[in-house]
Structure formats: C-alpha cells, structure tokens
Symmetry: C2
Amino acid sequence: MEFDRHIALEGGDHEWTAELSEGWVVGGGVNGGYQLAVVGSALAQAAPGKPDPIAVSAYYLSAARPGPATVRTRVLRDGGSVATLSADLEQDGDARITVLATYGDLGALPEDVRTTATPPDLPPLQECVPNSMAPEEIRSIAPLMDRFDMRFDPRHVGWAVGQPSGNGELQAWFRLVDEREPDPVSLLMVVDALPPVTFDLGMFGWAPTLELTAHVRSHPAPGWLRVRHATRNLAGGMFEEDCEVWDSAGRLVAQSRQLARQPR
Amino acid sequence: MEFDRHIALEGGDHEWTAELSEGWVVGGGVNGGYQLAVVGSALAQAAPGKPDPIAVSAYYLSAARPGPATVRTRVLRDGGSVATLSADLEQDGDARITVLATYGDLGALPEDVRTTATPPDLPPLQECVPNSMAPEEIRSIAPLMDRFDMRFDPRHVGWAVGQPSGNGELQAWFRLVDEREPDPVSLLMVVDALPPVTFDLGMFGWAPTLELTAHVRSHPAPGWLRVRHATRNLAGGMFEEDCEVWDSAGRLVAQSRQLARQPR
C-alpha cells in the first residue's frame, strides 16, 4: 500500500535510511506526522517484543524536504513491559526531528476500558464534506491532502469558503486513500493529518509545530477513523492543538497534543 | 526559600549536581514534577537569553530516591527565538528521567490572549479543604504534601473519606508552603503536585508516570494558583492525566498531559 512504501526503511541495527516522499509536502515542509510515522516505524524494530508506540514526543528542529533521510534509534532502557527509546531524523547532517518514546506491546495490555470521553459528534459519512472538494489553492500548497480520504463535519468547514466558525475545532472521518487499514504507527501520522485547527479561527497559513506528543492506547479496529482537533489556549503567538482519534469500534485509540506557532 | 534550596544546582557548563530532598518523597520514589523542576532549572542556563521552559517532555526510566543526582544538559539547536535542548537526570549511573525541551523568553512573546478554556470553578479559599487535614496515612506516604498549601475543592475530596466521586477530577488552590511565588520553572513541578486523579476514581496507590509533557505559556502572576487535574481515558492499565494551571490574574499559564500506569 502507498503508506507502507512511503515509510519504508532500509538498513537496520539502529541506523536506517528513508526516502521522504514529495506526496507529503504541506506549506513550507514535509508533514510532521508523516516524519513521526517514519521514525515510529524504525523505533518499532528497536526493542525486541515491543513493536508498538505507547507514548511518543517529537521536537521539530528544522523543516524537512522530500528526499533521503537518516533515522537513528537508541534504546535508553529496556526492562519490564516497556522500553524507553530515542531517535533522530536527519537530512544532510541537519536534525529535522528528535524523539523520545515509550514502546511496548499494546496487544498485551489489560482489556479494561473506563473511558469517559465521548466520540466526536460527526454526521454520517454521506453528509460530510470530502477533502476532494477542497479549493485548488489549498490542494496546491498541501499535496498531502491527496493521501487521505477525509470527510469533514460540515459545521467545521466554513473556513474553506471564508466563514470560519471561530470555535477552534475541526473534525472529520479519516482513512488513507487506498483504504490501507490503520495501525499503531500510522496513528502517529493521523494525529497531525488534518489542517491546523487555526483555520477554524480564520488564521490561515502554516502553523509550524514546536512539539507533538502522542499516546497510542490500543490497536485500532479496521475501518474509518474519527478525528477531532481542538484548541483552547491561543496566546502569546502559540497555540496548543489537542487531537483525539477514535476507531470504528468506538474506542479512543490515540490522543495527542502539540504546541505550534500561530500562522503569521 | 525552601523550593529554591531544594532545586539548587552546583557545577555548570552543562553538568550539574543536585541534592534530591527527602521532603519530596511520595509513594515509591521522589516526585516526578520536582525532578522535572530540578532539570528545568539546569536547562534554564543552557542557552543564553532563553531562560524559560516553553515545552518540556520527560520520560521516567526508574524511581529516584533522595540524595545526590547529576544533571547533564545539551543544546540540540539554538537559533531564532527558541532553543531545543535535551537533559538527563542520573543517580549512581542509573538514568531517572530523560528530557527534551524547547526554551525561550516568555517575556518576549506577543501579548495576544484568545484563550477559550475557562478557569476551574473553585469555591473561595475559605470554603475549600486544606491539605493539612489530609489523613495521617496519606501524609506519611506523601511527605511532599508538607511542601504545599493546597485547598481542595470540597466536591473532589470524597476520596479522603472513602467516597470518591467517580468523575476523575481533582482541583485545588495551590501555593508553596512558604509563599514562594510561582515562576516558569516551578510550574513544571506544579503540574505534577496534586494527588493522582485516580484517587477520585477510588483507585489508591502510586501511579507511576511513563511520560509527562508540560507547556508553559506565560510568566505566572504572583499569588495563589488554581490547578485542575482530569482524566478521560482510563484503559488498558493506563490513564492520561491532563493538568491546567491558572494564575491569580486569570491566565492559563501551564498545561500538561501525562501518561501513567493505573495504581495496582
């Protein structure tokens, strides 16, 4: 599937080569969530028996561009049920992102679920607005949109026609364009795949991420994901963006928060 | 002031010695937020002109104990208005926490505030329950409680008398016991100072943190802080704990999320 080709790694023994695809360009660089999935895929092989991201924190140092990249991983501690790992993604000697992570085996966790959060209140698929309807000026600066089949809640797409709601919320049905099923590593991309929530505040343009932390809490069930972005603290030239990813079985499978700069 | 003595560092040039105080013991180790403030204090000196934590992610590798600790800091990138840094806190060669961070100058940020989050709905101080009333069995396993003057919302202290609300929420007025005023580094401790939110779910015991990320968004105004903890996704033996810290001027000065293991 396309996503697997785009995150493919060569090498091994804690040093890998990836080819960042131009299909993931958005604004001034290569999408941060995609970079995180590339790194996350390398980390999945770093500690035996611990293939799944549980907590991953990425700090973004410079804008990545399409082309070769080197991923280096390191095991900081591997004991008990989880391992603590670090990784870097570099291009031509410049660090793009640096990562700390906890990996483990999501399939081995207890099955208790006492989630009190509620899934995004999304209209049925056929009542939502597909990303294929996005204006050409948005698609041209965001080729990554063509990687996805997204169906936006019509209440949160006013920004596309000059009428942002002002609430700082976006939510959509989500899947990869070739219906490649979600897995724990792909969720690291999904949490950064929707447009910046600042669009809904009428602030367009690129919102560079300083830091993004994702928690993956379960293997996602096959099928459509529901993704919700929201910000509640836009201040001092920055904003936090919280993301929730719910799977087709109604489980909250990933949560993330990022700190980003407001678009200029 | 007491807190300044407890986070004091000796050394310099990216390698420091600290003395972790036994006054911060809780459950099986030394409080994670206190460790983060010690590291955060060293990082404040790592990049010239960038004294303030903006985003800090800590991964907890092993339980710290009172006594000497070594903090090592490293500048990963220092350019423009922020620096990306890393740090480790070790005891006897064992890593306790490893940290990535973005530091900058909070005083130099634009003054715009468009926060839509609302402060914790806390009753007046005199109607809240002081931590000095905590049962002796709690204070004996949590000496760190004596570092704080906390006034708990009476609606969220049922756990102290065997009647947890089941909502997964805790909120309190907060200040250091000697009225030492809050600052950006002390907020790294404040986000992990209240009891685990799992107490409000009737799950007692220590809840070891796997990962904690804090965003500090402004210098806090002097005076009492309002702190709110909540969890919405307790599942698979883990829970996320979101924390908000509001200052006396009504600004949301810090947000954090941690992933922790459920108490056994």
